[in-house]
């Protein structure tokens, strides 16, 4: 179990930017490549501190990714960062062949990810990169839940070998993990103990999962286990299988499409090792749209309320053996309860 304490809001991208500077101080092989939005993804911190180890590549994500590969093949540890929409999709071929097939030390920071990038709209709301990049052999894939964790993940990725992608966001999100708590790539952390249902979440939705667990306890006396699965690849098979065995019902929650990302990764583990009913909270096979982050989170059903409802449905399916998908009108009574 990890301790936590809500201390306000801060964007995860700040953790990434500060983590890079700390890495740069520890290791002179750390190099950063900019893609013309360095002030947004906070690589500007590194550029100011280590100007000789920062290179502006311009708006050229494919080139930046393969230049990074060349630097890595020369013993450097390059980080390239841009918006996820362009640092995971525009350069996927380069990531597949030059980075992952070569299995070299290229690190990608995917900023402004998810629906919470807000009014920029669908083109900028990357909701698919976890699915996409999870299929690449050798790739490590991390979606930190808050500022502290983003910083730790950046350090961990910079100090371990191999291709890696860290996903972070634009908006300030609740800061609740402790600076001193442990972080290990591939090791999911439990934030709320329980055996009635397990909620496996990453990124922004981890905090919503904790809120859902608190409400389930308060309103229904249900004890939910909340697992912060910050590493989507390699996935923590042990923690997820134990959750399936102990709870018998699982909900996944992510600021991402419901298919193929965290939910898909967890489902693969569950189906193989210990099949139990699962529900998926995320964006349901649709593109995003313009709006303010808090509006969009509600509009796309990415709050504790959907996690709460999904937990009740998963429990019901476990207890009554209902295998069919439930329709919105059947969920209506729960929605009523949550008003």
């Amino acid at each position: 179990m990890q301790e936590y304490k809500l201390i306000g809001n801060k964007p995860t991208r700040h953790g990434f930017g500060e983590g890079l500077v700390a890495l740069g101080e520890r290791n002179e092989n750390i190099v950063v490549l900019g893609g013309d939005i360095t002030g947004s993804v906070m690589t500007s911190y590194f550029a100011e501190r280590f100007p000789e180890r920062f290179f502006s590549i311009g708006i050229a994500e494919q080139n930046a990714t393969t230049i990074a590969a060349g630097l890595a093949l020369s013993g450097k540890i390059p980080f390239f960062s841009s918006y996820s929409a362009f640092a995971a999709f525009r350069n996927t071929d380069q990531l597949r062949i030059s980075v992952c097939y070569n299995n070299i030390n290229v690190k990608i920071g995917g900023g402004h990810s998810g629906i919470t990038v807000g009014p920029d709209g669908a083109t900028h709301q990357s909701l698919e990169e976890l699915s996409l990049l999870r299929t690449l052999p050798n790739m490590t894939l991390i979606s930190p839940c808050d500022y502290n964790e983003a910083k730790k993940a950046t350090l961990a990725v910079g100090e371990s070998f191999g291709p890696a992608y860290i996903r972070f966001g634009r908006s300030a999100v609740p800061s609740f993990t402790l600076p001193e708590s442990t972080f290990e790539i591939g090791k999911a952390d439990i934030y709320h103990e329980g055996t009635d249902v397990a909620i496996v979440a990453c990124g922004l939705l981890t905090w919503e999962a904790i809120l859902a667990a608190q409400e389930l306890k308060k309103r229904r006396g249900i004890n939910a286990r909340v697992i912060n699965c910050h590493t989507i690849k390699p996935i923590d098979i042990h923690t997820i299988t134990s959750a399936a065995k102990d709870c018998g019902a699982i909900v996944t929650a992510e600021e991402h499409q419901v298919h193929g990302g965290l939910g898909g990764a967890v489902a693969e583990v569950v189906v193989k090792n210990y099949p139990v009913p699962m529900e998926f909270v995320g964006v349901k096979d649709t593109f995003g749209t313009s709006g303010e982050p808090d509006e969009l989170i509600k509009y796309f059903g990415l709050t504790w309320k959907e996690i709460y409802s999904s937990a009740l449905i998963a429990i019901e399916r476990r207890d009554k053996g209902i295998s069919s998908v439930r329709y919105p009108k059947e969920i209506a009574p729960i929605a009523e309860e949550l008003k």
Binding site: S40, S56, I59, A122, T123, T289, S290
Partner: protein
Amino acid sequence: MEFNIEFSKENYPNTPKQIEELARIALNTRQDIIKSLFLAKSGHSGGPLGISDVMSVLFFAGIMKYDSQNPNWKERDRFVLSCGHYAPVLYTVLARAGYFPTEELLTLRKLGSRLQGHPGLDSELPGIETSSGSLGQGISIAVGMAMSDKLLEKNDRTVFCLTGDGEIQEGSCWEAAMSAGNFKLDNLCWIVDNNNCQIDGRVEDVMSIYPLGDKFQTFKFEVIEIDGHNFNDIIAAFNQFKQNQKNRSGKPTVIICKTKMGRGVSFMEDNYQWHGNPPNEKEAIQALSELI
């Protein structure tokens, strides 16, 4: 004092005009941009303001062939906004051309609006030819459209495409350029907004694209370099392109427009810090007081 934003209902006809009239339209375009961005509370001011003169000529001086009451008219010329973040200026000219009510400019970037932060075909806003927002894709789309018109349909429609100058750091833009030259697309008019600004700074400091005209020349383009705030220059450039198309020159045209980011608003002018910000209330009042 309450700061009230309204959009007049005025539409502009697409006919040859005196310079004074075009200047007035461009000024109004800039006002519309400031107003809609102020209400949106996010979005890009600099680029849209800088290209307003060129866009006003393109849409309202009888250069481009379109029918706002029949957006899918088979014979229309097409305009592709490759730099999707310039959406505010496109929305303004489309509204003023009569594609949709000008009041809709109040809804820019809001939940449920057809005026998405970056143009989206899925919003079904009339006048939008393609979604854009990922830089460097629109120009290849324009090449594809021009190929369809010239090589397959064999009609005399035109494709206009606007890119930024930072945008053409994307390698795919030069693949598009190569194709346009290769396929002799004299029906393609590529407009580059050469404001020499992008997010991190001056274009030559972030990643130099210069010399620009020479590059296009070697890609077999007809290169026209103009002051993008001089209406005579702008009109002449478009006319020269149309002449080339008519003469079947076998060369695509690029119009490199030297502009100032944020043009018309003193504190935004030529300042890359205004690439991606909206004016706040005080700034909007100041800007509108200068745009008269």
